[in-house]
Amino acid sequence: MNFFSWFATVEHAYQATGLLLAIGLWIAALEDLHTFPVFQGEGLLSWKISRLIGKSYCQGTRAKIIHFWLNDLSLKIGVWMRIFGSMALFVLSALNLHSPLLLILLFLGTLQMYMRSPYSLDGAHQMHLIVLLGTSLGTLFGSFPWVKELCLGFIAAQLTCSYAISGITKLCSPVWVKSSAVYAVFSTQIYGHAGVYQWLTRYPSLARLSCWSVMLFEALFPLAFFVPPLGGVGFLAAGLGFHLANALFMGLNDFLFAFIAAYPSVIYFLMKWGSS
């Protein structure tokens, strides 16, 4: 447990979160830059269409402010800011230095993408925002008692909610309970994998095993806080394996770093409660 006891201090938990968050944000921002034409005038997620989403986006003073923040040029500036900002975050975190201004800027840059279009976003974007919100407030108001811990608690609670909600919703779904969900997902090109699909076709028990493993891991994740610290770390190891498999076989690369960035918060509380 020596490695994990390193996370038992607030500073180390923030440092590890910053390092993992920086890697995830950097990859996401570079991907946004690489596919930037998708956001431009004639692209699939064009702002001139996206802004028709509601009255507040088209008319009045609020619309002007929104347009100023979300137009193509501002978005490109935001993407570049996220690229350099995440690099700076990595260096500062490695030196165990924390800049609330940098974290707030990264939060606003990520929020910009979130507000620009309701399409093409996923759970990784949401988790990035949660971790950025928690660490921004934690470093900005860190001098007040309990605030740093409170912010880590918020990140850990949202991570727990994310797994538990997803798991419980799956347990209520006949497609998942009858074990056909994983097989059907892997039959698609978008999230599937030809090799895994063949294996699942040849060995149907693998499809059942993977469906129930995912459901039980997610739904039971809150138990990580009620078992001895080693058991809690076991839950996180299962989570790491889950995200690695999703990245390898489903192309969900952004979930990997976004969710793992929330793990130091959980380890912090596991170690703290385990030692008391």
């Binding site: 690489h34 699939l44 409170l150 918020f154 909610c161 909600i165 799956k170 698609t188 994998h193």
Partner: protein
């Protein structure tokens, strides 16, 4: 300050849980649409995961009134590269189109009036995109369709658009 931040986090957590309860979620989205935009949704791949691929096809009406053949806008790579576990920018297109297609099919199931469907956000996104994407100067008008399929399901037509004049010919 600590109490203020604690109360702020607690309210986000409560709203995160409430948004997963169907009736409550609908009420919250109707009464507090802006606020709910910022509350995370964690039920990914559930209750029903995406089990189909969506394909976008388009065809044009030529100047002589003849219809061109259907052509596919290809956005899904035949096979994901091995490094997609770290670097996968193509998902911006694939997830973007998947969300747009889902939303368009939801609209078309919800409304009978073509005007409602044609003025919906997903429909306009696809029309705007295809108007620029189609380079054939012989075409005056355009129509698109969405097909669904998977390794388990043969292709099926899920949606057919109206015919629209191409912008450059106006």
């Amino acid at each position: 300050m600590s109490i203020g931040i604690g109360a702020f986090f607690l309210s986000i957590l409560i709203l995160t849980l409430l948004r997963e309860i169907k009736g409550v979620s609908a009420w919250l989205k109707t009464h507090f649409p802006l606020l709910m935009q910022f509350i995370p949704t964690w039920s990914f791949f559930a209750p029903i995961p995406n089990m189909l691929d969506y394909h976008l096809y388009y065809r044009g009406v030529k100047k002589n009134g003849e219809m061109s053949a259907w052509q596919e806008w290809t956005y899904l790579p035949e096979k994901r590269p091995w490094f997609a576990c770290v670097w996968n920018p193509s998902k911006r297109f694939s997830k973007g189109f998947l969300d747009i297609a889902h939303d368009l099919l939801r609209f078309s199931n919800q409304f009978d009036n073509p005007l409602h469907i044609c003025s919906s956000l997903p429909y306009l996104h696809l029309l705007n995109f295809l108007s620029a994407f189609v380079q054939d100067t012989d075409l005056e008008k355009i129509q698109f369709t969405i097909l669904t399929e998977s390794r388990l399901q043969a292709p099926q037509i899920a949606f057919v658009s109206e015919v629209h004049p191409l912008r450059r010919n106006r």
